[in-house]
Point group: C2
Chain length 331, copies 2
DNA sequence: ACATCTTGAGTAACCGGTTACATTTAACGT
DNA sequence: ACGTTAAATGTAACCGGTTACTCAAGATGT
């Protein structure tokens, strides 16, 4: 592999001139420029970016901490981040943390050892459970909830959940079951808050027995649905905290002979691509996943450029999508 | 940020000793070791990996070229790759190429400029359409087809498709429609080959009008299904080249009043998580996605270690999963 | 007691770029 | 013609580690 010194020798110029020809061509005469380019061509020279990064003390890379990469919502956020990083000439290091703290620590390490310049965290922040924020590690949370103590891009989970439940109430539903995520999960907490607010505003008493815990997977949705189908007084609607659980629950309910949405309405959260294609198509909340990614990346780059960010919290609008999985309860 | 020289000063030892204390502690007396560790502790020293990489001419990173990151199959492969890279202490750079050659070139560049050591390509190889292989860029194809001219980990697409179609034939189907991927896609080509072989072995004539082209998306499956539902002589079974198109097609067929599987059987390919949960659950082919990722990474690391790889092509076994979307045709 | 070997530690070159500073060359004004 | 200034180029230090080589000191053998 040829180096800049080889090029300078070949071109009959100094290494400084070669370096300048590449990074600041206007400071070099056209003749020299040509010599340099010819030499580069001849030697098939490619600058060693490792040495450049080393010298510039900039890795030009950011890390994304993903709890689970095989999750479509995350995939879209990542996509958004990537497209911004792309333009900035940054590479994206993907950290699939599989919900392991140890792995997460390792990836944060990359920043501390200067292999990356900043971090975007896709796991919601929760106290006593978060490695971030850490001093000297520029970080943005891109899947945040209320009260995240470092820069965040998020949706209004409380408001979105409230909107969904209010809609169900407006259809005439009074007994509305919930399939939650894990109890401690901040998204669960926020969305449950929205659910309760909607009930309260309609003067419907909160009933603990209408809650079933899941873990955001298809399987857990199926499981949780049995809690409801076994009830003597089955709820007339089911608010699921994500689409995957909703789809799992739909299967569970159908297998018990319940008709959707006549016997029971069901709603999701996330608007996966498949949700439009299931039977019946799912009423759900669309998060602007790509936008969240883009905005998070923008924010991180502001941090890296040491501009004082104009704003450290962005709440992006959601879209409530009504499809055929919801209907008024039977009379 | 403190450097190794700060540590050496603090510990009253030379930088060489400090370096050795970290990379080869057995070459240093316990007393020196302690001094070094104390100094590191005191100064909160973290070695600068950029300079290490620079010096060692090893980026300790690999690039994954993903056509579309929001695809569950890829996500699983990536997961497999990551877990192996993890153990080797390598980082994974994710290159979402969004089917753009220019982006792909950029990521390959990372290896040429020594920011990464090797590449795993998730797009199937096809002649005149591939940037890889490139001399001096260690690469593995992890989504290959037959005749990939560089190291590959793949499944037997021809055989798998043949198995599916033979099964349909064994149920009594004779008119079997196909929803393909894009015509030029190597997976499409291989799977179509398997379809034709199965027909030939059963002495069923190949009928071009039973082919509808999709592009592996839900939407295209829905579209393509109309080609069949409009036919006067609707096929009794539909072989879809992936699960997403199968799910899209299911929706399309149902909306025309066709009952699944009584009126028409349908099969997919990939075994997405949702495929078990759709209505009816989808008969499909499971690829060992994580395994493919792991094996690909192993292979790449062999290449990087300049061991002569024992094998440069791995064909992993698939699993044919029969669920309720397939049944004998009506009499 | 002296030569030889072993082990731990130090010195300094090196990796391949960038860039502050010095030097050369050309252009210009009077 | 000569001094002044600007532009182009060259020289060499530097980034922060690694490691070949050197050296000193203690252990071992005869």
């Amino acid at each position: 592999m040829s180096t800049i010194r080889d090029v300078s020798k070949e071109a009959g110029l100094s290494i400084a001139t070669v370096s300048r020809a590449l990074s600041a061509p206007e400071k070099v005469t056209p003749e020299s420029l040509k010599k340099v380019h010819d030499a580069i061509e001849l030697l098939q020279y490619r600058p060693n970016m490792l040495s450049q990064k080393f010298r510039n003390k900039q890795a030009n890379a950011i890390v994304i901490l993903v709890p689970d990469i095989a999750n479509l919502f995350f995939a879209k956020v990542i996509s958004g981040i990537e497209s911004v990083a792309q333009k900035k000439g940054f590479s994206v290091l993907l950290g699939d943390t599989r919900d392991s703290k140890a792995l997460e620590k390792q990836y944060i390490n990359l920043v501390e050892t200067r292999q990356a310049d900043g971090i975007i965290q896709l796991r919601p922040y929760s106290e006593n459970d978060s490695l971030l924020p850490i001093a000297r590690v520029p970080a943005v949370n891109a899947s945040g909830c209320e009260n995240t103590p470092y820069p965040t891009v998020r949706i209004d989970n409380v408001g979105a959940a409230k909107e969904v439940v209010k809609y169900l109430i407006s259809l005439g539903h009074k007994r509305i079951g919930v399939i939650t995520g894990l109890q401690r999960n901040p998204h669960t907490i926020d969305r449950l808050k929205g659910y309760k607010q909607a009930l309260a505003e309609a003067n419907i008493a909160f009933d603990q027995s209408l809650l079933a815990e899941g873990d955001f997977t298809l399987w857990s949705g199926l499981q949780a649905s049995e809690h409801f189908s076994r009830m003597s007084d089955i709820p007339t609607a089911l608010f699921c905290m994500n689409d995957e659980m909703a789809i799992g629950a739909m299967k569970g309910l159908k297998s018990k002979g319940l008709r959707l949405p006549q016997d029971i309405s069901i709603t999701g959260f996330d608007d996966l691509d498949v949700s439009r294609y299931c039977d019946p198509p799912l009423t759900t909340v669309a998060q602007p996943a790509e936008k969240i990614g883009e905005r998070s990346a923008d924010l991180l780059f502001q941090l890296l450029d040491e501009q004082q960010p104009t704003q450290t919290e962005y709440v992006l609008p959601i879209e409530f999508i009504i499809r055929q999985s919801t209907a008024p309860p039977r009379a």
